[in-house]
Every structure is written in C-alpha cells, then in structure tokens.
C-alpha cells in the first residue's frame, strides 16, 4: 500500500514537472519578444518621469544589446556600430529634447535560421511631444537580428526596411 502511494506521488511529481516544462517554460520565441517589449519600455518616456527612472532605464537598455550592435536607420545620423554604453548615453541625450516619447511595436514575427540567431520583423511606431510642443509620429518597418549570448538574447543589428522609396 505504502509502495503504491509512493509510486502515485512520484507519478504526479513527474507529470507536474512535465506540465510545468511544456506549458510554463518560456520558449525562445517568447524570450525574443520579451526583449522587444523591454526595448519599448526602456525607450518610452512618460510625462513627469523622474531622473532616477531615466538613469535606471539607460543602464537597463544596455543589457539588451550585444557588445557591438549595428544600427542602420535613415534619420538623425544614427547609423553606425554602437556599444551598449553608447546606446545608453544616446538614449539619455535624445530624451533631453522630448517631453514624452512612446515606442510601440506591432505585428512582430520571429524566425530562427540558426538555434542561436533570431530574425525579428516588426512595425515600430514612435509617438511623442518635443520640448517646443511639436508633436511627432513616425512609423517604420524594422528588422532586428538577435544572438543568444551567454544564454540571453541580445540585439546585434537593427535596420529600417524601406517600404516607400522616393
């Protein structure tokens, strides 16, 4: 009887662990999408955001990127290869010119050409208000490349995919 109870408990434990593994573990896809939502959160500046929050975000944003991240965008001469520290400093600098800024991503799709590489396509929208009161809104199609470095997904490249070519 005792043996049967022990077996039942063991079976339940195995089933529970299996269920946890299959249903609750986050897949690579979810982790990559999580990095994208982190990026949106760290770039976003809410009205009345405190300096400490900005400092924290500028440090956290650096953790999302690899040692060298290649950025190819068509505005404000931002294209180039950056270190995480430079990206954090750029974030602080660019926030000085805006009252509010909100970055949102829509329709993300992830592909894994190799187990340690992810290609992420999405539509990015930046909404904001400049210090002089001007409101701005930019929409771009973005293509990110992420690499799994030390078990964590990090952005290694970001480029704007041209939808309209003048």
């Amino acid at each position: 009887m005792v043996k049967r109870t022990g077996l039942m408990i063991l079976l339940l434990a195995v089933l529970g662990a299996g269920g946890w593994y299959f249903f609750l573990r986050s897949t690579d896809r979810e982790k990559v999408l999580g990095r994208l939502s982190d990026l949106a959160e760290y770039v976003t500046k809410a009205p009345g955001e405190k300096g400490t929050g900005l400092l924290l975000k500028s440090q956290l944003i650096g953790r999302l990127f690899a040692d060298h991240c290649e950025i190819s965008v068509d505005f404000h001469n931002l294209s180039g290869t950056y270190t995480p520290e430079e990206l954090g400093a750029n974030l602080v600098r660019s926030r000085q010119f805006v009252e509010t800024i909100q970055l949102s991503f829509y329709d993300p799709s992830v592909r894994f050409p190799q187990p340690d590489t992810a290609l992420l396509d999405t539509t990015g929208q930046v909404l904001g208000k400049a210090k002089n009161g001007d409101r701005f809104r930019e929409v771009r199609e973005l293509a990110f490349t992420l690499k799994k470095i030390d078990g964590k997904w990090r952005f290694t490249a970001c480029r704007i995919r041209e939808v309209l070519r003048k």
Partner: protein, 185 residues
C-alpha cells in the same frame, strides 16, 4: 392531479428565455434562443463575422492627414480586400498597404505604375513627361522631384495632401505585394 415535472435543463432554458424576453409592438422578441439551434446560429454568425471582417472588409481607423481633403484625420472606414484578388491597382486608385503586419497600414493614392516615369515640377505631377490632372489635390503644393522610373512589381504612391515640405511627406515606390485593399468609401 399533479402536472408532469419538467427536467432541470428545460426549466433553466425557460427561465433564461423569460428573463431576456421583451415585448416589441405586440410580438414577442427573444434576445437569444438558448436552444441547440440558437447556439449553432450564434456560432455561424461569429464565424461569418470573423471571415468577413478579417478577410473581406477589415475595419480601419485613419490616423493622420496625408490624404486630406479626400480622407480626414481620425476617420473610420473599411479596407475592401477582394478588389485585388483578381486584378492589380490602377492609376488614381486609393490603396491601403501593410507594413510588417496589418495592424498599422498606409493609405495613399497610386499615381504611376511599373515602368512609368514620375516627376514633380512646381507641384505639378508629370507621368512619362505629361502633366496629370489631379482634381483631388486641393491644397497648394510646390514640390520639385527629379524624374525617376518605377520598378517592376512596384507602383508609385503619394498622398493627396501635399501642402507640406516634400521631405515631410511619406511617398514613393511601393511593392504591389504590400497592397491589401482599398477604402470601402
């Protein structure tokens, strides 16, 4: 003599039916029929709505004034998708095109097709060197753009509101594969 008892599920159905029953002009009206037939009907309506609003006429909200005065900012419309199931866009047609997905889209007018040459001279649109009459462009425009040829598989799209510096207006060659429909009205 006692009346025969109704079973529980039938009783529940009747109670719910009575609760939702309304009198309209002397005729009885039920909001929902809780019978099997009613559920099947509801399922069919839901599937039909999902197909219609997802693949035939997708609701869209117009955010931005690049198509003024044809389409005002903050307008509501539907993206009519069957129009391009069997044919390609033509010049003068207003089209809706997607970005990476279909949650954020572009609303523009096709002004030139593949192989044609587009140019703006003092605000006047020229296609293959000939002036194009554009009655829909009401606001003043002074754009200048050197001639360029539209690639195969692309169309040239511009908004109707050109009353802004050319750098601030989003326009240009757009892949035909990105076009998903036209506004319904």
């Amino acid at each position: 003599m006692k009346a025969p008892r109704k079973n529980t599920s039938e009783k529940t159905t009747l109670l719910a039916g009575n609760f939702l029953r309304r009198r309209t002009g002397g005729t009885r009206f039920r909001w929902f029929d809780f019978s099997r037939k009613g559920w099947i009907r509801l399922l069919l309506v839901a599937v039909a709505a999902w197909l219609f609003f997802g693949y035939v006429a997708r609701p869209v909200y117009i955010d931005g004034g690049s198509m003024l005065p044809t389409y005002s900012d903050r307008g509501v419309n539907f993206c009519w998708m069957p129009i391009f199931w069997f044919r390609s866009p033509h010049r003068g047609q207003i089209v809706i095109a997607r970005y990476a997905g279909e949650r954020v889209m572009l609303l523009k007018r096709v002004v030139a097709l593949a192989g044609e040459e587009v140019e703006f001279r003092d605000g006047q649109l020229l296609v293959n060197g000939k002036e194009v009459k554009e009655p829909y462009v009401v606001l003043p425009c002074n754009w200048n753009l050197p001639p360029r040829r539209v690639d195969d598989g692309y169309v040239y799209v511009v908004g109707d509101n050109r009353n802004m510096p050319i750098e601030n207006h989003k326009f240009g060659q757009l892949a035909v594969s990105r076009i998903i429909g036209v506004p319904l009205w």
